[in-house]
């Protein structure tokens, strides 16, 4: 159903093709009738194998025929095993069994040559290896290398390769070398980059305490950053290397943590850095002299199973006398957070730190990469990948210092990559809100929760992390944003 070009043909050609197809249909129907009859009588023999072969060579998607072949193979092996043998002849018997599997293996290979993207053929081969008394895993590794040479993006081959290299116990270092070779031959090979991304974290695990964790040790990270940028610059329009680059720079969502909390005498809200459920959620206030109070009956604000904001309407007597908040849930190990006072309420607020601190080596690498990207942009000012990567590098180096410039780049990206205009708008909004929240968190505690004013942020077109705002009594937005959320946005005072 894929890649069949519609060609204009003459009347005669059409007629000829029709006749040809009619013959094929007739042959197909005749074969399937015979197969069905034999199956009804449980005749899983060589004749059955012979009937299914030509159909599968042409159309390997007919799963049932592979099932029939597996029945045949099991029957044949069973029959061989049932023959009485003397101990001397055991080896011959095993040879016979192996022969059954070998013959079938070569059929799958013939089929793969015609149709290397068939789920059925690859699976049949796996099944044979699992059933065979003596699987040659090394040979399978070679087979994969051959098929990856023919098509380096065939994910069936890659999946099969990962399966057989584990069985053959190929060292991960060797696999990494294989990957490097593949990438050197062709940078535009997302499949190789992907395979690489699985090996590196295992070979060079990160042991520092940055959160979210870096994908690999910083020494290796530096090397990889260098390698991938060379690849990306070789063809700046190819996306594969740029995707890998973004992964190296780290753009995972934050780890789950409580980020905002406010408790008044008649309601409590608790926000998390990302979506979570209230499964086993436990919220305890602690104060001087071992005073504790558990707040229960939390609900999600959006009424769904998961949310970033949870609230409870249970009354709390004099919340401001508690000093600490203990939060735990199924997904979150218990943490204790210090509470602050706001009028009669207790609260906690922790804005997301946008920059991560790298070792000087990596930082130098990032800075030199930024320079390279900037100089490429001088020649190609509209290079989408370069603009985006520059913005990401700037954020990785120092998001506060470069804030305005990153905003400028995202604005430009909305034009040069207009298909994804709204993606860049949302990304800009996310970065703006992050910055605004850091600033907000630095305002004097006595006034902080009174209001947060976002009305002057021009490029703020949506609120990506509403959960931070919920602790404010009032959220001041631009006219456009007020309209966009039409009362759907809750602040602490209207929960």
């Amino acid at each position: 159903m894929h890649g069949r070009l519609k060609v204009r043909t003459t009347e005669e050609e059409r007629e000829r093709k029709k006749k040809e197809q009619a013959l094929k249909v007739k042959a197909y129907k005749a074969a399937t009738t015979k197969i069905s009859a034999k199956r009804q009588n449980q005749e899983y023999d060589d004749e059955m194998l012979a009937y299914t072969t030509p159909i599968l060579q042409r159309n390997p998607d007919v799963s049932t025929l592979w099932n029939i072949r597996r029945e045949c193979i099991l029957a044949k092996v069973k029959k061989i095993k049932e023959e009485e043998v003397t101990p001397e002849k055991e080896a011959i018997q095993e040879e016979h069994i192996l022969q059954v599997f070998e013959t079938e293996m070569s059929l799958t290979e013939q089929c793969l040559l015609v149709n290397p993207k068939s789920y059925n053929i690859w699976h049949h081969r796996m099944w044979l290896l699992e059933q065979s008394p003596k699987a040659n895993w090394q040979r399978e590794v070679m087979l994969c290398n051959k098929y990856l040479k023919m098509d380096e993006r065939n994910f069936h081959t890659w999946d099969y390769k990962r399966y057989v290299v584990e069985k053959a116990q190929v060292p991960k270092e060797e696999e990494l070398d294989f990957c490097t070779e593949k990438i050197k031959v062709n940078f535009s090979n997302y499949s190789s980059w992907h395979h690489r991304s699985l090996l590196l974290p295992a070979l060079y695990p990160y042991e520092g305490d940055a959160k979210p964790k870096r994908p690999m040790s910083e020494e290796k990270l530096k090397e990889e950053l260098e390698m991938v940028l060379t690849a990306a610059f070789t063809d700046p329009y190819d996306s594969s290397a740029w995707f890998y680059q973004r992964w190296l720079l780290g753009y995972s969502q934050p780890e789950l943590a409580a980020c905002a909390f406010r408790c008044s005498k008649d309601k409590t809200v608790l926000s998390f850095t990302k979506l979570t459920t209230k499964e086993d959620l436990k919220v305890v206030l602690t104060g001087d002299g071992g005073k504790t109070l558990e707040i229960t009956d939390f609900l999600t604000l959006n009424n769904q199973v998961s949310d970033t904001i949870f609230y409870s309407k249970n009354p709390v007597e004099d919340p401001s006398m508690y000093q600490n908040l203990e939060v735990s849930s199924k997904a979150l190990t218990s943490i204790t957070l210090p509470l602050s006072k706001y009028n009669d309420d207790a609260y906690y607020f922790h804005a997301l730190e946008a920059s991560t601190t790298y070792t000087p080596d990596v930082l130098d690498q990032l800075k030199s990469q930024l320079e390279s990207c900037e100089s490429l942009l001088e020649y190609e000012p509209d290079s989408k990948w370069c603009l985006l990567t520059s913005a990401l590098l700037m954020r990785a180096i120092d998001c506060q210092e470069y804030h305005d410039k990153t905003m400028e780049y995202l604005k430009k990206l909305q034009k040069v990559d207009s298909l994804r205009e709204n993606y860049y708008k949302d990304l800009a909004s996310k970065w703006i809100l992050q910055k605004a929240l850091i600033q907000w968190s630095k305002t004097d505690g006595e006034h902080m929760l009174k209001s947060i004013d976002l009305s002057q942020e021009e490029q703020l077109t949506c609120l990506t992390d509403k959960q931070y705002l919920i602790v404010a009594d009032e959220i001041i937005l631009s006219k456009e944003l007020t309209k966009r959320y039409e009362g759907g946005l809750k602040s602490f005072s209207n929960i």
């Binding site: 894929h2 994910f155 997302y190 609120l463």
Partner: protein, 346 residues
Amino acid sequence: MDFASFAKPTNSDANSPTTDDSKTEELHFWKHVEYIENHGKDQDDYEYCMTEFLRMSGIYWGVTALDIMNQLERLDRNSIIEFIKRCQCPTTGGFAPCEGHDPHILYTLSAVQILCIYDALEQIDCEAVVKYVMSLQQHDGSFFGDRWGEVDTRFSFCAVAILTLLKKDLATTIDVEKAVQFVMSCCNQTDGGFGSKPGAESHAGLIYCCVGFLSLTHRLHLLDVDKLGWWLCERQLPSGGLNGRPEKLPDVCYSWWVLASLTIMGRLHWISADKLKQFILSCQDNETGGFADRTGNLPDIFHTLFGIGALSLLGFEGLKAINATLCMPQYVMDRLEIKPQILERP
């Protein structure tokens, strides 16, 4: 353009314009209806015979597409239901793609989907289907496609979709926690996407299965939406079409896999809907009806459903709403009171 303005075609197409209108933005509505309606009328048709091994899914594609176009009555409900009944395996409870073939979870889902659309679940042995699905779950939480042991995240989706459509409580039928763990073990750190098994490269079709699985099990909070959403919106190419992996060609079926995933994640707005519509419409065959994978290729029933389905997700006028998670008409979901989880747009 509303529904009433569509005039039914006359019997003959001989006088229809033959000018090259590949650039027009018009949906050849009645051509598609006819294309689907005629599919399989000639039982000796070569294509039809060669796709016998997926007949049940073929019927699901046709039935769903016609229902989305409000033309379901064009197909014979009774004969379809009778056919489905004949395909249920008396020993396992699963469904074969057609008589003479073996049952498989893929065709079991298709059969259940068709019966839901026809509101005819009582016609089959539903308990046997539940047992079949339960029997395919493995210790690591994954699902076999059938008794021969192929494992794939597609089958995890099929399993929870079947049980949901049969209104079965997932928690008491399968080990949901383990099933979720298995699917999440197929999530890639690089792009937030999913492959068919642990370690497999991300692929839009399998992402749809895994995102759909998480939507049905109400575990969407396990996704890294920003990361995956970005990778998915990067599937859109200058032609407006979507591909399934980086540096691959666009294809109408990916309009569905990518678009449905973005819809479930509340990020449909991250791609250009107008450009995608143009691409999908350019893949119509304006002579025979039906949609091809790409402009200028031969149409088939599979791409016809996913073309129509994607247009419906984009809010195309004259089409019924489609449910992104189950790829079935929304009114059927409402009737069955099935509400897969979806995330809101920020």
